[in-house]
């Protein structure tokens, strides 16, 4: 599904290398988790995958379902099925949440040469998916993320993901700022999307989320590289001992 090879990335403005050779393959149907100290490059990886400006890829490749996405615009990558749940979701004053969702859904459909979703089907879907995330009608009416609490913003990201039904889902610290119940809701949302055709890359600092979303593979990222990969037990090790053992082991 997603194939990243020796990815090296500089900041465009500063000529500073942030990603220093990332190799990662996520197969369809699998959940991969990435953990790693603050500033190790996890969010940068998610931005580069989704095509944000400001980064220069100096080396390597990113292939999503057989297409090289490095040449694609962010919206083309989105239409190809790439979704990023932002670590810090953006507020858009004056634009209703529903409008935003419907515009996004239809933009992607159009890009894929599909018909627009009918108003009725759209409403039905939003209603269902919002209620399972306990997002109420009031929140759907409000402008995108404006005045939302931290946890509400994160749930809203998952709602967008549920509506867009992407192939490759990247979740950047979707668990931070969530209370215990909200975390369960988000995990439920993610789990209900798990299927054979869909891959997940879940960036997190805590084992807690991984109790609910069971990963197939866990990676440790440090200083712009994936330094260790393993099974779910790797996350437990981090939870118990922090990163110092792992880092000194690979050094």
């Amino acid at each position: 599904m997603l194939n990243i090879k020796d990815l090296r990335v500089n900041l465009e403005d500063e000529n500073k290398e942030i990603l220093k050779g990332v190799d990662l393959t996520v197969d369809a149907g699998k959940v991969h988790a990435i953990m790693g100290p603050n500033g190790s490059g996890k969010s940068t990886l998610s931005y580069v995958l989704s095509g944000k400006e400001g980064y220069e890829v100096t080396h390597g490749s990113i292939v999503l379902n057989d297409s090289d996405i490095l040449e694609m615009e962010p919206e083309e990558r989105a239409a190809a099925g790439l979704f990023l749940a932002f670590q810090y979701p953006v507020e858009i004053p004056g634009v209703g949440n529903m409008t935003f969702l419907r515009t996004a859904v239809n933009a992607q459909r159009k890009a894929r040469g599909e018909k627009e979703i009918s108003a009725t089907d759209f409403l039905k879907q939003v209603r269902e998916r919002a209620s399972s995330l306990q997002i109420d009608a009031e929140m759907l009416k409000r402008p995108v993320n404006v005045g939302f609490s931290g946890g509400e913003k994160k749930r809203n990201e998952i709602l967008q993901m549920a509506m867009l039904e992407p192939k490759m889902c990247i979740l950047d610290e979707t668990d931070s700022g969530l209370d215990v119940d909200a975390m369960k809701l988000v995990a439920k949302g993610v789990n209900s999307l798990r299927d054979n055709g869909r891959g997940f890359l879940v960036i997190t600092h805590y084992q807690r989320l991984l109790d609910h979303i069971k990963p197939d593979v866990v990676h440790i990222m440090a200083d712009g590289k994936i330094v260790k990969s393993g099974g779910p037990e790797l996350a437990l090790e981090v939870e118990n001992n922090g990163y110092s053992d792992i880092l000194s082991e690979v050094a």
Partner: protein, 507 residues
């Protein structure tokens, strides 16, 4: 749980925009011309031309004299230079002041007699000149229920009014809605009493010019206690080349009456600039209310700043009685140069003035626009919400006066003025003038300037929208407060325009 359906209706407006924008694609979509035989008054301006215009309109002598008085004054005064707009010297002698389709020489008695070419023109513009479409019995009722309210239209083509719809139905309600030239002939007592009573012929250079040469426009009279049964609108189309358009609108809302009036305008693409100098006067008596909405979409000039309309407009409402209320809403997306300050004279006690504005300038467009709120009556209130958007090399100025006179005790004004910049070659300016001459009144002014946020655009694009769609969505969000003040039909059109007029502003 609250109903989601209601969400859909409310949100539907934005969605329409996005859909429409997708379909439209090309930039200025009203840039075509109508191939029609015209007759012109000779080029240039002198007393003889003024008399000729008056004669073409079969005007009584008092009207001719009024025009000549204005013309004599105009000859003695100079163009104002205080606004932040730059344009080449206008040669007032190098253009036509009167242009009318030959087929309009005899005024058609009904819409059926109107030249099919003219009907086709308005049809292509999306302006319905056939009442039947909305009036066909049951169907009509359904349309109304679906929210498609009836709108009466006065269609002005270059210098003449082509026709006015729903006149009979309006007459039954006591409402007079006709072209101003017809009103001068048919209702001289009203015109004599009110014309120039809000914007006198001495008011300013362009208003004086307009008073001398205005050829047509709309006239509205709503009798006491009448709520106008439908929206009224005037659609101005400039078609002829090298011709100025000078329309005059006079709206009188008598005691306790209500009317919502819409104005729209477009012009063909041409590489020479054209002059448009309109005057709108509104008289609002005790307990009456007038809503005046404009979607101004004159040709803005091309990407390099060639051509376009120079739009110099004087609009003013006089709130004469207790609780008189007026609301101006404008969406200014067109014109190469805009110079326009719809104003409210709040003479009556507890009278209210509101001004909601979206001004979008792209490429080389320039806009200097705002309002004047002149508080004369006790407890009068005013509210100003202005959203200026600049892209490309455009300059956008908000210029507004709030004046509290000594008699206007305990009056209030609230002004909010937000500017949004797209790119770094455009400019936004805010020039507020505030005068408070009593100590019980309060004036609040808030202003912000921001740039379209890259993070917002990236967020939209990550969800699948292309860059222009993302900008349109973000800008429509920025303008939301003003868009909501527009009547439904106009809100949709305006949202589309917001998107279209920003095409090419990114990337």
């Amino acid at each position: 749980m609250a109903s989601f359906e209601s969400v859909d209706v409310k949100e539907g407006v934005d969605q329409e925009t996005i859909d429409a924008v997708r379909e439209v694609g090309g930039a200025y979509k009203y840039g075509w011309e109508t191939d029609i035989e015209m007759e012109y008054a000779p080029k240039g301006l002198d007393a003889a031309i003024v008399k000729l215009i008056s004669e073409k309109n079969n005007e009584p002598e008092w009207m001719t004299d009024w025009r000549l008085k204005a013309f004599n004054r105009w000859e003695k005064i100079k163009e104002p230079k205080w606004s932040m707009v730059n344009y080449p010297e206008i040669n007032f002698q190098d253009q036509y002041y009167y242009a009318r389709p030959k087929s309009m020489a005899e005024k058609p008695k009904s819409l059926d007699e109107v030249d099919p070419k003219l009907l086709a023109t308005y049809d292509k513009l999306g302006i319905p000149l056939k009442e039947q479409m909305l009036l066909a019995g049951v169907e009509a009722n359904e349309e109304v229920e679906k929210g498609e309210r009836k709108v009466a239209v006065d269609a002005v083509f270059d210098s003449v009014s082509v026709g006015t719809t729903f006149q009979k139905e309006l007459k039954n309600a006591g409402v007079i809605f006709c072209s101003i030239s017809e009103a001068i002939r048919e209702h001289p007592e009203l015109v004599k009493k009110y014309l120039g009573s809000v914007v006198p012929i001495t008011d300013n250079y362009y208003a004086t010019l307009n008073s001398a040469v205005f050829s047509d426009g709309s006239f509205v009279y709503i009798p006491p206690g009448v709520r106008c049964p439908m929206e009224l609108s005037t659609y101005f189309r400039i078609n002829a080349e090298n011709t100025g358009q000078f329309e005059r609108t006079l709206i009188i809302a008598d005691k306790g009456s209500y009317v919502s009036y819409l104005e729209g305008c477009t012009a063909p693409k041409r590489d020479t600039a054209q002059l448009h100098a309109a005057v709108v006067e509104i008289i609002v008596e005790e307990d009456a209310e007038v809503k005046y909405s404009t979607v101004q979409n004159w040709f803005p000039g091309d990407e390099d700043g060639n051509g376009g309309i120079y739009n110099f407009v004087t609009k003013r409402a006089d709130c004469r009685g207790y609780r008189s209320k007026v609301m101006w809403t404008q969406v200014e997306t067109g014109s190469a140069v805009t110079w326009k300050y719809p104003s409210c004279i709040l003479r009556g006690e507890e009278s209210q003035g509101e001004f909601y504005s979206i001004a979008i300038t792209n490429n080389h467009q320039q806009a200097d626009t705002g309002t004047k709120m002149v508080h004369l009556g006790k407890n009068s209130k005013s509210r100003i919400v202005s959203k200026g958007i600049s892209a490309g090399f455009a300059q956008n100025t908000y210029r507004g006066l709030v004046s509290m006179h000594p008699r206007a005790k305990s009056s209030r004004n609230y002004t909010q003025c937000d500017s949004l910049l797209i790119g770094d070659k455009c400019g936004a300016h805010t020039v507020p003038y505030i005068e408070v001459k009593n100590n019980s009144s309060r004036v609040e002014h808030e202003a912000t300037t921001s740039k379209v946020d890259d993070d917002q655009l990236f967020y939209c694009r990550q969800r699948g929208m292309d860059e222009e769609e993302a900008v349109a969505l973000v800008v429509n969000g920025f303008c939301k407060d003003v868009l909501q003040a527009l009547p439904m039909e106009f809100a949709m059109e305006a949202q589309q325009l917001v998107a279209i007029s920003l095409e090419g502003s990114v990337g």
